[in-house]
Symmetry: C2
């Protein structure tokens, strides 16, 4: 009954979760593995802490014998060790695309790779975090799945719930583009349009999570957020494995909350700590990308500040438009510690980044991918990124979802009548 | 430098192509393996013929040790045996999704699976045929890639050419929706808008292929069509392998030219002939799906006719709108021989099919997938399809590409102000 290629035949359950506790990133206080996301002591964000011995039991062979999706790393995740427990579309193991033409155009001499997460089931990296969050949520007894979102996350939660046959309720701003509404509503769950901004939606969800009526409801990015965030580690594990168990010298990662960047860095650290890979001779350097319309983390870095000043986001890179980024300080720390840098791209540069990536690699990215490629270009030009060091750039979403971003930029190169004569007059026949 | 997970490390070149000749499907005349698509004797379509001994050398172990994409079947394809020869985005090995909720809703008692080819790099099954066609084309010395298309094929050819760094020229009708123009134009090749219908575009391409200026140009669905068509076989091989080397008792396949259906059937026959699988006790039955707006093949079956009367296509399932289907007679033959059936769905049924599939499986299909699910439903209701026999239904494309089809059908289930009181008044809080 099961497919052999989804790998379940080789996917023996890991005995237990390696997760040990929820740990406050601020004060270090520890809590049991429950549905909690903030510290009762200092209100700092909680993160999953692991049993080092449990992590160290994971081997390359075990991973390589696992399924062809992110669950091959179940031994390093807080949930999903038992395949039957998973709430998932089986995302992950997306292509790592060699990008020699892009490297040449940018003046990079070392190998350049694009980690293309548009290949996930609902075509963004959110499928990773949602699979881990909802698997943890079901294990914690939740019977309804929810989120606040303006796009990719809404798609992913609604699709996961449909596959699992679990009710879902997704909250979106009322003025969302019809296309993004359709790609969530089609899965048939509840979809609540809020007459307000995304910030209003988020605030309302934080209130709802405290009500009796939502006691049964896991909001992936609120009450089960620590588990959700861990899903992003798989974007680090995969790149290392796909490079033949090597960590690249440089990674360029888009930042919204900043969490993805911190989790890729955490994944590399874990792989080194448990002996699955060796660190590059000079370590790895982490680079962050934002848009000019929403650049609070990059601005703090450029200003040499230890505080992030929230902004009111503008611009076309809507999936990155978080004006008050929850993990901004941790992203700053990772970039400073590893000797990386951050920069930001204007809307015009984002559009050009999308086109440059498509033209040189065949990968059509959403605006977030345009941000990352545009910032990669800037980092080379400013000398912050070493053109002789191997680099991986992350594309986190699909161009089909933000097609309007380039719709006015590209079109037919020729217009002709259906005759050889007309084709000849257009210069296409000698 | 190469990724281990793209499988090239385990992907030792097969010694040579198993293809032997181009064989006329009409009169059986044979021709060398060149860029030819019609018989000089009877003008019938040509198909790739294989050396049975070469096919028979392929083993399950060889396939299973291959890359995680369609090239694991290189030993059964006319091109791409040497990994370095491939012009490809590495499509294939798309998910085979168990669909118990859909089966229950339709009254199927045996397992039902969705083969979800929206997971390919440009999100349709066309990546399969384009990868095989362009790999053959490069081997035949072509230095420019082309096609006539209204959507999925255009996307795929332009993206393949961009990845390979080869010039491309794609011909489209001038009145194509802007969204479909963007998803092709973004890859940066030549894009020629023709002031005419898709039939006009096709006819022009058939003329261009004969000109000196296009001597270097492979039109994937014209002069290298026999190779192109073979790529569809992989949709048969994969399903058999993913079921644990079994052929399903029933398959439901969308029909445009009818070629995909014939090639899945051909793939099953080959697997049995070379001993890689056993046929089901009562054989397999092939079912074809069309839309009511373009149903020439199904109509011929319903009329008991041996001739296909071309139609002028209408309706929302545009990727299936071929009014004069080149492989229609062969599709009829396969369906009659295997004891299957064909049916067609109205636009309303197609929309409902898209929503039903999304709601029960988390797979968001383009209109062609809606056609197939709607026809599956009809086949169960009419008793043509056995509810106690294992069934695979093919989704060949991505809902994001035909979002307008359901945009008027789905939307927010609730609209509220950003306050608990408003949420309560909407009935969401008890």
């Amino acid at each position: 009954m099961t497919s052999i290629l989804d790998g379940r035949d080789t996917d023996a359950p890991v005995s237990a979760s390696p997760a040990r506790a929820l740990v406050c990133r601020g004060c270090g206080a520890e809590y049991p593995l429950a549905a909690q996301h903030a510290c009762y002591e200092c209100f700092g964000p909680l993160e999953v802490g692991y049993d080092p011995a449990a992590l160290a039991r994971v081997t390359r062979a075990q991973i390589e014998a696992g399924p062809q999706n992110l669950w091959r790393y179940a031994g390093l995740l807080p949930a999903g060790q038992d395949p039957a427990s998973r709430v998932t579309l089986d995302p992950g193991l997306t292509p790592l695309v060699a990008a020699p033409a892009l490297a040449a155009e940018l003046g990079l001499r070392a190998p350049l790779w694009v980690k293309d997460d548009s290949a996930n089931p609902t075509h963004s990296f959110k499928d990773r975090v949602v699979s881990v969050a909802l698997t943890a949520a079901r294990g914690l007894g939740f019977t309804r799945f929810a989120c606040a979102s303006t796009g990719n996350l809404a798609n992913s939660v609604a699709a996961h719930a449909a596959r699992a046959g679990v009710p879902s309720i997704v909250f979106i701003p009322g003025d969302l583009e019809p296309g993004k509404v359709v790609t969530t509503a089609v899965y048939g769950g509840d979809l609540v349009a809020i007459d307000g901004s995304y910030d209003d939606v988020n605030r309302l969800c934080s209130e709802l999570v405290e009500t009796d009526e939502f006691e049964d409801t896991a909001f992936v990015n609120v009450n089960v957020r620590p588990y959700y965030a861990e899903g992003s580690k798989t974007l680090g594990y995969e790149v290392a494995e796909q490079l033949g168990w090597r960590i690249p010298e440089q990674v360029v990662i888009p930042m919204a909350s900043g969490e993805l960047l911190t989790k890729v860095d955490k994944a590399f650290s874990e792989l080194v700590e448990i002996g699955l890979v060796e660190a590059p001779a000079n370590g790895w350097r982490v680079f962050g990308a934002q848009s000019a319309g929403c650049n609070p983390i990059a601005t703090a870095l450029h200003d040499g500040s230890d505080a992030i000043t929230p902004v009111k986001p503008t611009g076309i890179a809507k999936s990155l438009n978080i004006g008050d980024p929850a993990a901004g300080l941790y992203a700053l720390e990772a970039v400073r510690r590893t000797g990386g840098w951050m920069d930001y791209a204007t809307d015009e540069e984002i559009r050009e980044g999308i086109r440059l990536l498509a033209r040189t690699t065949g990968v059509f990215a959403e605006t977030a991918g345009g941000v990352t490629v545009a910032v990669l270009k800037k980092l080379v030009e400013s000398g912050r990124l070493d053109p002789d060091a191997e680099t991986v750039v992350y594309n986190t979403g699909e161009g089909l979802k933000t097609i309007d971003a380039v719709a006015s930029q590209v079109g037919p190169t020729h217009r002709v009548k259906p005759s050889l004569r007309s084709v000849r007059e257009a210069g296409l026949l000698g």
